[in-house]
Assembly symmetry: C2
Homo-oligomer: 254 residues x 2
Amino acid sequence: MKDHPLILITNDDSVKAPGIRALINYIRPFGKVVVVAPDRPQSGTAHGVTIAHPLRLDLISKEDGYEEYSCNGTPADCVKLAFKIVMKRRPDFLFSGINHGSNASINIIYSGTMAAVLEGALAGVPSVGFSLNNYSQHASFAPSEKFVKTIASEVIANGLPVGVCLNVNIPDVPEPEIRGIRVCRQAQGTWKEDFDEREDPHGREYYWMKGVYAQIGNGEDTDQWAMENNWVAVVPVQFDFTAHNEIENLRKRF
Amino acid sequence: MKDHPLILITNDDSVKAPGIRALINYIRPFGKVVVVAPDRPQSGTAHGVTIAHPLRLDLISKEDGYEEYSCNGTPADCVKLAFKIVMKRRPDFLFSGINHGSNASINIIYSGTMAAVLEGALAGVPSVGFSLNNYSQHASFAPSEKFVKTIASEVIANGLPVGVCLNVNIPDVPEPEIRGIRVCRQAQGTWKEDFDEREDPHGREYYWMKGVYAQIGNGEDTDQWAMENNWVAVVPVQFDFTAHNEIENLRKRF
C-alpha cells in the first residue's frame, strides 16, 4: 500500500450531505484527504461540465492532512478543478459519494457521483463511487462503513486497471443482513418517466418530472439483483460506448 | 420504409442554432417532424436531467406535418417531454444535431446532443446523432446534407438493433473532399483541461475552463482518425458501462 496517499473525495449531493460526511470519516485514516464538492445538490447533472460560466472555489477548512472546498460547479467540474487548481497534480485515488440513492443499472448515466468517478478514471486515477440504496437525507450510512473501508483499502493496496473504475451500490439494510460483496455487470433497466402537469399562479402550464425504475431482465449476475438481494454490488466500469458487436453488421449497410 | 414516420428532432445548441435548422430541412421530407429543443445553448450538459425545477414547453410553430417547441430543460429533458407530453407516444425515429463541434472520441461523454440520442435508444427508438467538426456558429452545414440524408434514409428503411444508436461525425471540408462513410469504434482520448485564473471586479478569484483534446493511440478504425481523414465517421453506440473483461479478475479480489 502506498504510504500516506493523496486522496480526492467528491460527490453530487453537495458538500453538506450526510453521505459525503460519512465517506470523509471512513477515508481520512488512509491518507491525506482533499474534499472538493458541489456547494449545492447536483443530482441528475450526469457528466455535465461548466463552459459558459466562471467557476468558484471556497475554502471551508484546512488542517494537517485535510482540506475541504466547495465549488459552484458540477461534480465533473469539481474533479477537474481539484486536479489543476487545488492539488496541482492528479491524486493517487478518488472516492465519490456516498450517494443518497442507487446508482445501479441505468442510474449511472444520470449520476453526477459516477461522472466524477469516470472523470478520475479518464485521467488515470484509480476511482470508486459509493452509493446507498436510499434517497433520504436521513438515511443511515453506518452499515456501509465496513464495506466502504474494505473496498477502499483493497483499491489503495492494489490499484485498478487503467481506465477502469468501480461503481459500488450498497443495500439499505442493517449490517448483519448484508451478505457480502459481489462483483457484477450493470443491469439493463430504464426509467418510466411521467410528468406532473401543473399550472402556475399566472395560469401557465409547467411539468415536473417523476418516474419509476423498470428492470429489463433480472439476471443474478447484475448489480440491481445483487443490491436487491442484500449484496454490496461492485461493477467494473469503463467509458467506451462502442457497440463493438454491431460494427461488422453496420459495415454491410454503409 | 415505414410510410410517413413520426420523427423527433432535438439538439443541445438550442432551437435557434444553424445546425438544427439544417437538420430540420434535411429530415422534413421523410415524415411528420416534431422538434423539441432547448431554448438556449446546453453544450456540456451531458446526460443531465432536471428534477429540482419545473419544466416549460413553448410552441414556436405548428403546421401540416410539422410542430416545433422550445423547452427550458436539457436535451434529455426535451426527449422525455416530447415522448410523454408533446407526442403522447414514442416517435418512430429520433435525430439529434447537427451539433456545432465534434462528438467523436471522449466528447460523447459530455455531449447533450448524444445524451438525447442515448435517451431515444434507451426507450427503444432508432436514434442518430449528427455532429460537424466545427464549433463556429457560422459553420457551413451544406456539405453534410448528402450524408445526413443517406444515413437517415437507411435507418428509416432498416431500423437499428434495439438499444443501439449511431454517433455520426462529419468532417469540416467541402463535400467533394469527403471520402465517404466509415463505420468505426470510439477513439480513446481525453481533454487536457486548463483553467484561466482571473479576478472579478470585486477582487475574488474565479476560474474558466479551457482545454485541448489529446488522442490516446490513433487507430485507423477509430472515429477520430476517420473524421480527421475526411471520412464521415459512424460509431454504433450502446449504454452498457460494464468493463466485462475485468469481472473475473475482480472476483478474485472481492
